[in-house]
Subunit: 85 residues, 2 copies
C-alpha cells in the first residue's frame, strides 16, 4: 500500500529563528505592519510503501528522528493518508 | 484580534525538486528503501493582528503573493485561527 506522509518540522518555541525575523522585516517593509511574528519551518511530503498505516507511521517516525528533524532544536509532527499511487 | 496563519508553500507538482531528491537519497542510504518520493516545502507560522478573520485572511493572501511564495514555481495555501496572544 502507498501512503503519503505530510511532515511538519518547526523550531522549538524557545529557539531563535533569524530566518523568521528576516521574513518579518520584509513583510514590514512591504507595508504589512500588523505582523507580530514569523516562524519558518519545513514541510515535507514523503511517499512511502508499507503493509499498513501503522507500519508507515512507525517508519516515518524513525525518518524524522534519524534525518528529517534535528531533535535538539526542532519539533516534528506528521499526518499519514493512504494514496492511490 | 490576533490570528495565527499556518502557511504551506510547496513546489508545483511539475517543478523539479533537487532538495527532495537529495533527502530521498539520504533516506535510502539510511535503509528506508520503501520511500518512493520526497518533496520539500516551507511551513510558515505568521502572527497577525486584524479586525476580523476575513481581514486577516486577505492580508495573508497578499503576503503570499508578494513575498512568501514565488507564484511561478510554487503553490501556497494557508489556514487561519484566532489566538490569545
Amino acid at each position: 500500500m502507498n501512503y503519503l506522509a505530510k511532515i511538519y518540522v518547526t523550531l522549538k518555541p524557545t529557539v531563535n529563528d533569524p530566518q523568521g525575523v528576516t521574513v518579518k522585516g520584509g513583510l514590514h517593509s512591504l507595508g504589512f505592519k500588523s505582523v507580530n511574528s514569523v516562524r519558518v519551518g519545513k514541510f515535507l511530503e514523503v511517499q512511502v510503501e508499507a503493509a499498513s498505516k501503522e507500519a508507515a507511521s512507525a517508519q516515518v517516525q524513525e525518518m524524522c528522528k534519524k534525518l528529517l528533524a534535528n531533535p535538539i532544536v526542532e519539533l516534528s509532527r506528521f499526518e499519514i493518508e493512504e494514496t492511490k499511487r
